[in-house]
C-alpha cells in the first residue's frame, strides 16, 4: 500500500490532502453553526469563475480562484446584511452568478475544457509544488487566525448581538472569517473539486456535531474525521482508479451513516436500560 507513495504526484496529493483536512473541517464547523452551510458551495462556484479567468488571461488558476473567492466572500457578507430577513438569498444570488460567469468564460477558452474537468471533480495528479506552497500558506494563516480569535469567534458564532455588546468587532471578524473560508475553498479545489469542496467542510462538521460533547471536542473530531476521509479517500481513489473528490465525500457519507446508526443503537439501549431500572424500582 505504501509503495504508491514513491510517486511524486501522490506525495503531493497526500500532503495537500492533509493540509486541507486540517483546515476545511474547522471552517466547516463555524459555517454550520453560523447557519451558512451553503456558503462554501457558493464560494467554490465563484472560484470556478476565477479559474476560468486565470486560464483566459494566462495567470496561475489557483491565484485567480483565490482572488475570485475573496471577492465572493466580501459579496456574501455584504448581501447577507442587505437581505437580513432572507440571508440565504445572498448565497443563491452569488452561486448562480458564479456558475454563470464560469460557464461563459470557459466558452471563450474551449481548449482548456479538459483542465476544467479536473477542477470540477478533483484530481490527484493536479496538485503542483506551487499549489502545495499556497496551501501551506493558507493553513498557517488559518492557524494564526484561530489561535488569536477562537474566543471571539466562539462568542460571535453563538450570538452576534451579544458579541457586539461584549466589545467584539463582529462585522470585521465575520468578514475576516468569510475571507478565510474563501481562501480555503479556493485552495482545496484542485484535489476535491469545485462541486465537492463544501462537503469536505460541512460533512465532518455534521459528523462531529452528532458525537461531541463540547465545542473544542467538536473541532478536534471534525479535523480527525476530515483526515481519515481524505487519506482513506485518496488511497481508494488511487487503488480503484476513481475520482478522489467523489471518493472522499462518499467515505464521509459512510462515516456519517455509521455514526447515526451507532448513536441510535446507543440511545435505544439507554432507553431500554432506564425502563428496566424503573420496573425494578417499582
Amino acid at each position: 500500500m505504501f509503495e504508491m507513495l514513491q510517486y511524486g504526484f501522490l506525495q503531493n496529493a497526500f500532503l495537500a490532502g492533509i493540509l486541507i483536512a486540517l483546515v476545511a473541517p474547522v471552517i466547516g464547523v463555524y459555517l454550520v453553526l453560523r447557519r451558512q452551510s451553503l456558503m462554501a458551495d457558493t464560494l467554490s462556484h465563484v472560484s470556478l469563475a476565477g479559474v476560468a479567468v486565470g486560464a483566459l488571461i494566462g495567470v496561475y488558476p489557483m491565484v485567480t480562484a483565490m482572488v475570485a473567492a475573496l471577492i465572493g466572500a466580501i459579496l456574501v457578507d455584504t448581501l447577507r446584511r442587505s437581505f437580513k430577513a432572507y440571508s440565504e438569498l445572498s448565497i443563491a444570488i452569488l452561486m448562480s452568478g458564479g456558475l454563470a460567469s464560469a460557464v461563459v468564460l470557459m466558452s471563450f477558452n474551449k481548449g482548456a475544457s479538459r483542465g476544467f474537468t479536473s477542477y470540477l471533480f478533483g484530481s490527484i495528479i493536479a496538485v503542483s509544488q506551487t499549489d502545495l506552497l499556497i496551501m501551506a500558506g493558507v493553513v498557517v494563516l488559518c492557524a494564526l487566525f484561530f489561535w488569536f480569535f477562537w474566543r471571539p469567534m466562539y462568542v460571535l458564532t453563538f450570538d452576534e448581538e451579544t458579541a457586539q455588546v461584549s466589545g467584539i468587532p463582529a462585522r470585521t471578524l465575520s468578514l475576516a472569517f468569510s475571507l478565510l473560508a474563501g481562501l480555503v475553498v479556493a485552495t482545496a479545489m484542485p484535489i476535491v473539486g469545485v462541486l465537492l469542496v463544501s462537503s469536505l467542510m460541512v460533512l465532518p462538521a455534521a459528523i462531529s456535531l452528532r458525537i461531541s460533547r463540547g465545542f473544542t471536542m467538536t473541532i478536534w473530531i471534525a479535523v480527525l474525521t476530515g483526515l481519515v476521509s481524505v487519506l482513506g479517500g485518496l488511497t481508494a481513489s488511487y487503488q480503484l482508479d476513481i475520482p478522489p473528490g467523489g471518493t472522499i465525500v462518499l467515505l464521509l457519507l459512510v462515516i456519517l451513516v455509521v455514526v447515526l446508526l451507532v448513536k441510535r443503537l446507543f440511545s435505544r439501549a439507554g432507553a431500554a436500560s432506564a425502563g428496566t431500572e424503573r420496573e425494578l424500582a417499582n
Binding site: L33, W147, F148, F149, R151, P152, Y154, V155, T157, F158, D159, E161, T162, Q164, V165, S166, G167, I168, S208, L209, S212, R213, G214, F215, T216, M217, T218
Partner: protein, 259 residues
C-alpha cells in the same frame, strides 16, 4: 448616579417611525420592568441602549464608569437565545466561561479569579451540577439560567434582559425572578427587563416603564397599580389605561367601553 440615558430618540424601520421622542434615564440598583403592547418597540429600545442600533435622531449616552468607578460593564440576554442555539455543541461550563471573552481577553490565560467566578455564578443560578451537560439537553428554564450566568460572569453594572422567561412554567419563572431580584438587592446591579408578566414581576420591580412609541408611564409599581385600580372593579384593564398621555388614553378606553 445615572448609568445611561436615552434622550429624545427617534427611530424607525424604513419610513415607519416606531419610537418618537423617547426619553429614559437609568440609575443604579434599579430593577426596571419595560412593558407595552406588541410592536411597541421594546426590543428596539434595548438594542438602541446597547448600541446595536443607531438612533435616527436624539442620543443614547452610557456613563463611561459604573457605580464602583470602574469602566461600565454591560450584560445582555437576548430573547430565546439559548433555545435558538439548542444545537450549539457547547457544555454549560464552556458557554458561561465565554462570558469572559470580551475585548481584552481574546488570548492568553484568563485570570484565576475570573475563572473561579464561572463556578460561583453557576452555583448562584443553580446550574453547577449541570456544568458538563450540553446546552441542548437542558430545559427552557435551565437554558435561560445558563444565559443569565453567562451575562453575570463579568459582573455587569447594567443587565439587560429581553423577555427572559418566555416559555417557562410558573415555578421556573418565579425562581428566575428571585435570582434577578437577588442580583439587584445584594450585588447592586441595575436590571432592565422586557416583560409582559406584570402579575409576577410588579412586586419585585422598583420601577415600571410602559412603552408605546414613547414612554407612556414611568413610575413605581405602586403608582401603576393605583392608577389601574382606580378605574376597575376587578376588571383587567388594557395597558393604555395607565398612560400619562391624557389625549390618547380616554379616547381609546371609551371606544372599548372600559372608562
Amino acid at each position: 448616579m445615572k448609568l445611561a440615558e436615552i434622550r429624545d430618540v427617534v427611530f424607525g424601520y424604513g419610513q415607519t417611525p416606531v419610537l418618537d421622542r423617547l426619553n429614559v434615564q437609568i440609575g443604579t440598583s434599579e430593577f426596571i420592568g419595560l412593558t407595552g403592547p406588541n410592536g411597541a418597540a421594546k426590543t428596539t429600545t434595548l438594542k438602541l441602549l446597547l448600541g446595536l442600533l443607531q438612533p435616527q435622531r436624539g442620543r443614547v449616552e452610557l456613563n463611561p464608569t459604573g457605580p464602583k468607578g470602574k469602566p461600565l460593564v454591560l450584560g445582555y440576554v437576548p430573547q430565546n437565545i439559548a433555545s435558538f442555539n439548542a444545537g450549539f455543541p457547547s457544555t454549560v461550563y464552556e458557554l458561561v466561561r465565554s462570558g469572559l471573552y470580551t475585548r481584552k481577553r481574546w488570548f492568553g490565560l484568563l485570570p484565576a479569579a475570573e475563572v473561579a467566578r464561572v463556578e460561583q455564578v453557576l452555583k448562584q443560578v443553580g446550574m453547577w451540577e449541570f456544568r458538563k451537560r450540553k446546552i441542548g439537553e437542558l430545559s427552557g428554564g435551565q437554558k435561560q439560567r445558563v444565559c443569565l450566568a453567562r451575562a453575570l460572569v463579568l459582573e455587569p453594572d447594567l443587565l439587560v434582559l429581553d423577555e427572559p422567561t418566555t416559555g417557562m412554567d410558573v415555578e421556573a419563572r418565579s425562581s428566575f425572578y428571585d435570582l434577578i431580584t437577588h442580583q439587584v438587592q445584594h450585588h447592586g446591579r441595575t436590571v432592565l427587563m422586557v416583560t409582559h408578566d406584570l402579575e409576577e414581576t410588579l412586586p419585585r420591580l422598583t420601577r415600571l416603564l410602559v412603552l408605546d412609541k414613547r414612554i407612556r408611564f414611568d413610575g413605581s409599581p405602586q403608582e401603576f397599580q393605583e392608577r389601574m385600580d382606580l378605574r376597575t372593579n376587578n376588571v383587567t384593564l388594557p395597558l393604555y389605561c395607565c398612560y400619562d398621555d391624557e389625549e390618547t388614553k380616554p379616547r381609546a378606553a371609551v371606544q372599548e367601553g372600559v372608562l
